[in-house]
Symmetry: D5
Subunit: 147 residues, 10 copies
């Protein structure tokens, strides 16, 4: 039975041999880059239509579209990530997490930023002293309710 | 010897009794909200000038300005944060961390987004289906160099 | 500065000497038993009105109402709870967690049950072979969205 | 030797190709949805009769019924689950676990809710502001005894 | 507010100065040695009557009886115990745990030995090659039920 | 090279197809049930004679007797076991471990119960309110010696 | 109530001010250096007679002798020790532990070296290329028994 | 590519079929038992000459001598070993580690016993109350130097 | 799809059969020894030109050059390394890490030494009392900035 | 009894009020900056002479010199350090640790770089694109010996 990690491996192999970028995959499917990349890595599900477009675009077998549309079980490194690129984000959570909580609570009241009703964009910003990575995240505020 | 956590406790006590917000503290010191909040929580150091303004604004003892200007040792929960507001961000790192790495590498080459030459803003975006938390982060891209 | 755990200790001491039950506290504040108990244990915030009622009902100092209304940082045992009463629930998460996920996805699509827009009730059900604990939880379904 | 995870994989493959739901499997076997799903995922054993019905209904090999009837060793993520749908339940255990213990003890005395003499139901409740997941759990109260 | 660990310390101090044994405490309260010792160490609650007898027997303050009757939160070393006397029992769980499970299942069907409806006795057995520790445990069998 | 886990798998397969019980295996080898089961699961070594009897009784290849007689490296779950049947015993260690230590020391002096010079029996005790699992363990007392 | 760590602190203070060595303490009590040092650090109990001698020799209060004679709960760093002097021994366990097991089994059969019926000596061996630490340990062999 | 664990498996298979002991292997190679056993288990490297003798003595393929001479990466259980024979040694590190450090420092000054410039011997000592395992370790003392 | 660890295995096999050193590989590619070794072990990416030279020099398949040029995900032992050669460096981080931080801050202000804009050299220094390993690391200083 | 952490706190307080640098302390004691800083932080011992000079230079009580000369127990964060300045070094160990081992072995044979017979220097190197931190470490090579 074809699994999500089989499909991820197929996509990586296609990318290596063809040079197709994540940006091109995003455009071909009509979705955002972060979302479609995370779905290709097995961390989100695609609706049948963009799943079909992706499979057509990359020339994958039809079953891959079914697999991409299945709901994933999200499994990730449970403690401290080691890759420096991902670790830096973990460090930001540690260093600024409590400041983030203070400010969300000051601006909205007691509650959280949803990680489900959520989107994210990653941009390259040119800068004279060295280009910068810009990340824009937006999540619905969910207030704690009493009952 | 007065410590950073002593100063954090003084600031929290002043905020409770006076109702002063983090936004007002940011304005009084001329710094961004996220940065000044993280410094008040002991995770960053203030330069002497904004440290002095903060101490004047809140009516803290003069030694507090020296402590706020000292370089902190950043200590945070080493594994999985439990507070739901902070956990959601940790979850985002887990779910989208590899997609983030793929896209940074596609847009910039092999390297990382700095967590040191870095800034962040948190905004409330009004939205008809419920307001949203917007987070904008910007960090310098640091390429791996060979030698 | 009075903390949430100071207030929890005051409430426990009052309960020990007076025999007042959580049910009575819930009635006096007009809130559900689970919610008000969790707030008294420092895991949720009360709105100012029920916080005031609680403080009056138990004869606590006025500052306690301010503390009960502050937004908590939720900190709990990060791994496996040891008290058998709480462990059994952790075990249920382990044994039935994946079945829960399968059924939520079958009934609703890809998404989660919110733990924020959420309520819970605990009832004693009499039963001839030994009474039973009934727990009823209700949380808003949050669908994963693509973007 | 066919294992429980072999049988789980067969059931998932049948469901993918036929579109049969867990609800239909529950009906075909005369068991509750949560229980039969957990048994199909290898976390509980079926009695021989419903095991036979399940195997007939899905067209699995006869040995699968023997495997489904064997007593499982329940192995699950020992610390913090990462899938957001399961994590939220873990979070509920952390946030409300002590309140649950307080109320069980107030209503019943010192003891626990059994996770063995136990059942659970998951329902979709329509709601104008967004449908809700309802979970109803019932477990026998087991008092601590002295001796 | 007097806590269970305060009472444990009082009992240990009384034992040190008077030489009273756990066996004598068990006899004075009419309870088993293992149970009464575990209650004195804060891991179980006594009913008011034996709590009163214990307090009288050892000459403790009256509030100690109330504390001994309160329901404990059982907290213990979450991983590997280090004291050799306790470690050996942990090692037995590791070495013989699966054999225990096999035999319970063979003799009773799928289910567990309750750790709540449970008692234990510890005896000294004289033996020519060196005396032996005998432990006799008895717990109700709880079958898994389907529903 | 045939390993202990190969032999365990062979024994489990034979038991599934033939319905032979652990009790029958114990009788055929002239050993106790707990011991022979633990040896079949790879946690103890059999002497050549009972190893030969076991292999004849179950019709296993001759090399299996050599493997059963080899001295095992005992490897087990290093932290908290998840299967509820084994977990309950771990919980007993946590809840009663210190009481066990107190009573062993009171009855014998400073020292431990050996987990090597050790035996265990598991019995089904019929009881009107539900049958009980009885466990009887006996281990040599080893005193700490000074030198 | 005076504790073992109170007594350890008293002994360390006496050693600092008087310059008395562990060797002198061993001689004054008639015990081995390793054993008496470990007892002074709270990891073993002394019999009343050497406990009295030690207290007289160092001029400690009489209660200290009672405390030194009490049976300790041995608590130590549960994972990897950090002090380089102790870590090297942990490393030896990792690097040579399996070789030790192979050789004990070859020379004695299946079983272990007791850590209870055990003694140890530490000597300085002069050597032209730099003096060496010699450690001699001796523990009773305990064979696994079948039953 | 043949690995160190391939060679370990070959050696174990030869030992099983031929009954050759570690003592005989040590004699054939002219090395100590502990060292040669640890090298055969992949934890040390042999010089080409004894590696060749070992391969000849056991009749292994010539490439095995090259592999035995390669420098190993020493990987071992990072936390608490579970096999009782190895665990007892870990326990000795916990119980006597600080006493060892005290005595090394008293006899030598600040520094450590090397685990690299190190040797060890394991002997069987006959004893009327049961034979004993004797371990003799010798490591160069390395003083901390200031600079 | 050929992976980085496939390529590492090819390089190790070539080195074993040909005796080519890391120094020779560094010379052939025109890169530093530490960098090229880390890239061969899968921890850094090579630019296409030196990747091609390396593949030619060692006679590897052309696809290996593509793989060597891909950006790695850096995964390493998340806790305490066990190999003594690597552990000693970890120990240096523990023992001197805070001193390093103090001195970097004293010489540069609040900030860090980059591990990305970074290089390292390892040299053998002959010394009459035994040769020494010299490690020279150089990393760009990154100041914390306020915003 | 004055402890090493008491002395560290005294030194930090003196530095805060007087502005004395680590460089000045190193000069006053005639020792290297890294070594004397690590000793002031409690991770190394000073010989009596430099300990006396340090106490004179900073005007500390005489007992502080005795404490600085005592041999420390080195305790550090056992897993992943969180402060970014120290974490980067830990990351270097993870990313380059195996390359370091390969090169040490290629240049010296099987063995390690000592962390005891060891010294380290930290320098500021001016650089047009931003100054760099230079770290030079030197440790004696210790070969594994066979025996």
């Amino acid at each position: 039975m074809m699994t999500k990690s089989d499909v991820t491996a197929m996509i990586r192999a296609k990318k290596r041999e063809s040079g197709i970028t994540w940006a091109a995959i995003a455009e071909a499917t009509g979705l955002g880059e972060v979302f479609v990349t995370s779905a290709c890595l097995g961390m989100n599900s695609l609706s049948p239509e963009p799943a079909g477009k992706l499979v057509d675009f990359l020339g994958l077998p039809a079953e891959a579209a079914i697999v991409l549309a299945e709901y994933p079980t999200k499994t990730f490194a449970q403690t401290v990530p080691t890759d420096p690129c991902i670790y830096r984000w973990y460090e930001i959570t540690g260093v600024f997490g409590e400041a983030f909580k203070e400010l969300v609570q000051e601006k909205f009241g007691d509650g959280i930023m949803s990680a489900i009703d959520f989107d994210m964009e990653i941009n390259r910003i040119t800068h004279e002293k060295g280009d910068r990575v810009e990340v824009v995240m937006s999540g619905k505020f969910l207030p704690y309710k009493s009952w």
